[in-house]
Symmetry: C2
Subunit: 379 residues, 2 copies
C-alpha cells in the first residue's frame, strides 16, 4: 500500500423492483483494500455506451421518468409495463452496478510488482461497475495509456474499438471481403469507417437520416446510403455490387432492414449470375444483429434464396472464440491508434449525480446516433 | 445396346411466359441413345415433392388455374401477379423439365460393364426431369433397388430420406442433442420421427392441426405440440425442457413460428439458469428454414438473447459439405430400410397426362401435409 484511499465511494446502481419500477440511485460502497496483484483506480471518465443503457434502464418506459432529490441523494424512477416485466425476472430486486469501461488514475496499489508499476499511471479498465468513484481491480485488467493521453481520451478504448475491429475480423475469418454496417453514423460507425479506410476494406454505410450521409462522406466514406431515401433498396444494391459485401452488422435489429440487406445482397449477386436456380445464389449472405435500436419485431420477406444466415453477434463471445493472443493484438492496435482511428467524441460530460438528472437522461436515454455522454465520477 | 428404345417420349414442362402466365404441358422429347456409361430408365414412379412444386408452379396463383385439352394435349395455365413476376426473371421463356427423383426399369444400357449390370433392374434415380417417360442417365446415378422392391417403393428414396437423415446429421455435427421439426405430420416428418425413435434422438414434433397430433402419437412420437393450441408456447417450452432440443428445422419459413421456437428454447434454457444476463443464455439456439409452406413474411420478437442463428438449409448443399463418403453411408441406410423407416405413402397415382388435370392439381397444389401424389409416366 502506498497511498491512503477513502473507505467508501459513490457508485451508481440500477434496481428493478417487484412493483414494476426501475430505480437509479447512488450508493456509498466500500473501496476494497487492494490485494498484492490489485490496484485502486480513481475513475475519471466512463462513457454511457448503448451496451450500458440496456442494463441501466432495463425495459423501463422513459416517458414516465421522475427525478426526486438532488446531488448524491438524487433518485430517478420510471415505470416498467407488466408485459415488459416478464423479461426482467432474472434481475428483480438486485441492485446492479453499471458501466462496462472507463479510465482514471491508479491511486493505490498492492505489493506486487505489476501493481506497483501502475501507481500514478492513467489506465483504461474493462471492469464493469465503472460508474463508481473508485474501483479496485486486477493490475492485469488495466491498459496503461501512452504518455499525453487523458482519462477522457482512453475512456472508450475497449467496447467500441474492439467491437469495430471484431466486425472486420469476423468478416475476414468467415470468408467475406467487404461489409455493411447500419446506424453507420454512430461513434462506432465512424470508427469502423476509419478502420476500413486504413485497411482498404470495402464498407457500405447505411444511415437513417440524410444529414448523416454528409457526416460520413466528409470522413472519407465511399459508400453511404440512407434508408430514408425512396430509392434505398436500389442504392443499397448498387453499393453492394461495387463492394461485393456479403456480410452485414445491423445495430437496429428490428424492422425490415436486415431482410432488405439480404435481399439486396442476393440481387447484387444475381446481376452477374448466369443460370436460374430457384433456390437462389449459392453465395452465403450473412447478417448479424448486434443491437436493438429499432425495438419493433424483425420482419423479412424471403426473397434471397436459401443460402443465408442471420444471428446475434456480441463482442465478448467473439473475443473468447478468437482467444487471448488474437485479442491482445487487437488491443495493441487500439492503444497505438487511440487518438486517431479509435478517438471517441462526447456531447456532454456529467458527474455521477449529474447522470441521474432528468436533463442528462433525456440526452443519453434517446439512444440517438449523434449523442454520447461521458461520466466523470471524480467531479 | 441391348434393347430397342423409343426415339421419343413424353416429358412434363413448366414455362413462365412474358405475359405473366404459367403453362404446364407435355412435350415429345428425344430419348438420347445411352453412351457406354449410361442407361435408359423407363420411369414408373416419380413423386410430387414440395421441392418439385416450387419449380412446377413458380409464383402462379392456382386460384386462376384453367385446364384446356386432354390426354397428352392437355395444357394447364395460371396467372402470375406482376409483383410475383419479379422473382421469375431468371426462368422467363425457358421450358423447364421437372421432377427431382423417381424409379423405374432399366430398358437399355450402354456398352460399359456398370451400365450392362443394370439392364432389367429396378433402379431409383436422383436425376431431375423425372416427369418423363424415359430418362437417359449415368449408370452411377442409379441406386439398384433390393429384390422385391417395386418402382413405387423406391420412388421417394432420395429427397425425403436424405433430407430427414441430413437434419439428424446436422444436429450431431453442430453439437446439439435433440431437435425440433415443424409441419411434422408430413411424409418427411413421419420419416424423421421413425429415424429419431430408432436412433434414440429427442424430437419435438410441431404440427398445425390437432388431428395431426394423434397421427404422430400413434407412430410412437413422444413430444407433439400443436401450434393451434392456445397454450402452444408453454407446451413447446415444456417439450424443449424435456428433450433439451436447441436446433429446429422449420418447413413453414414464414409467420411467427421460427421466432416462437427460438423464444421457447431460451425460456427452456433459462428455467435452469442461475444468474441474470441481459444478453440471454450463452447456449446457441439455431433454427433452419428449409421450406416455405407459410408464404407470409418471417417475423420475430427478439426475446431470446444474443446467442441465436437462423438460416436457410437445403439437402443438396449439405451433402456436398459432408462429402461423397458420408453421403454414401446415408444412402446405404436408406436402401437397407426402404420399406420400413423410409417408406412413403401416396394418396393418388396419376399418369403424366393425369398430372395436368384440374382435379389432380387441386390435390397436390394445396401443399397440404397429408396428401402426396405419385406420377407413373408408364401408364
Amino acid at each position: 500500500m502506498n497511498t491512503s484511499i477513502p473507505a467508501e465511494g459513490l457508485q451508481l446502481r440500477s434496481l428493478v423492483k417487484d412493483s414494476g419500477e426501475l430505480e437509479l440511485s447512488l450508493q456509498r460502497v466500500p473501496v476494497p483494500v487492494p490485494a498484492a496483484d490489485e490496484v485502486v483506480v480513481r475513475v475519471e471518465a466512463t462513457p454511457i455506451n448503448p451496451s450500458d443503457i440496456g442494463l441501466l434502464f432495463g425495459a423501463a418506459d422513459l416517458s414516465t421518468l421522475v427525478v426526486t432529490g438532488s446531488g448524491e441523494n438524487g433518485v430517478a424512477t420510471a415505470r416498467i409495463s407488466p408485459a415488459a416485466m416478464k423479461g426482467m425476472a432474472g434481475r428483480l430486486g438486485q441492485s446492479m452496478p453499471v458501466g462496462n469501461e472507463g479510465a482514471g488514475t491508479v491511486v493505490a496499489a498492492g505489493s506486487g510488482a505489476a501493481a506497483q508499476a501502475l501507481l500514478g499511471r492513467t489506465v483504461a479498465v474493462l471492469g464493469g461497475a465503472m460508474y463508481s468513484q473508485f474501483r479496485t481491480v486486477k493490475a492485469e485488467a488495466c491498459l496503461p495509456l501512452p504518455a499525453g493521453t487523458t482519462a477522457a481520451d482512453g475512456a472508450s478504448c475497449f467496447v467500441n474499438p474492439l467491437t469495430a475491429l471484431g466486425m472486420v475480423e469476423t468478416m475476414r475469418r468467415e470468408g467475406h471481403t467487404a461489409l455493411v454496417h447500419t446506424a453507420a453514423a454512430s461513434n462506432l460507425g465512424q470508427m469502423l469507417n476509419r478502420i476500413c479506410l486504413a485497411d482498404g476494406v470495402g464498407l457500405v454505410n447505411v444511415v437513417r437520416k440524410p444529414e448523416q450521409e454528409s457526416l460520413l462522406r466528409e470522413q472519407g466514406a465511399k459508400h453511404v446510403v440512407s434508408s430514408a431515401s425512396p430509392g434505398f433498396v436500389e442504392e443499397l444494391t448498387q453499393a453492394l455490387v461495387a463492394t461485393g459485401a456479403t456480410i452485414a452488422f445491423d445495430a437496429l435489429g428490428g424492422g425490415p432492414l436486415a431482410g432488405q440487406i439480404l435481399g439486396a445482397m442476393e440481387a447484387a449477386i444475381n446481376r452477374s449470375a448466369r443460370e436460374y436456380s430457384r433456390y437462389g445464389s449459392t453465395t452465403l449472405k450473412q447478417v448479424y444483429l448486434y443491437g436493438g435500436l429499432d425495438t419493433r419485431p424483425t420482419e423479412f420477406v424471403r426473397n434471397f434464396g436459401m443460402t443465408w444466415a442471420m444471428g446475434g453477434w456480441l463482442m465478448f463471445p467473439f473475443l473468447q472464440k478468437i482467444g487471448a493472443e488474437a485479442t491482445q493484438a487487437l488491443k495493441n492496435r487500439v492503444a497505438a491508434e487511440l487518438k486517431t482511428t479509435f478517438a471517441s467524441h462526447y456531447t456532454r460530460t456529467v458527474s455521477l449525480a449529474g447522470a441521474l438528472q432528468a436533463e442528462a437522461i433525456a440526452e443519453y436515454g434517446r439512444r440517438a446516433t449523434a449523442t454520447k455522454v461521458l461520466i466523470d465520477p471524480s467531479r
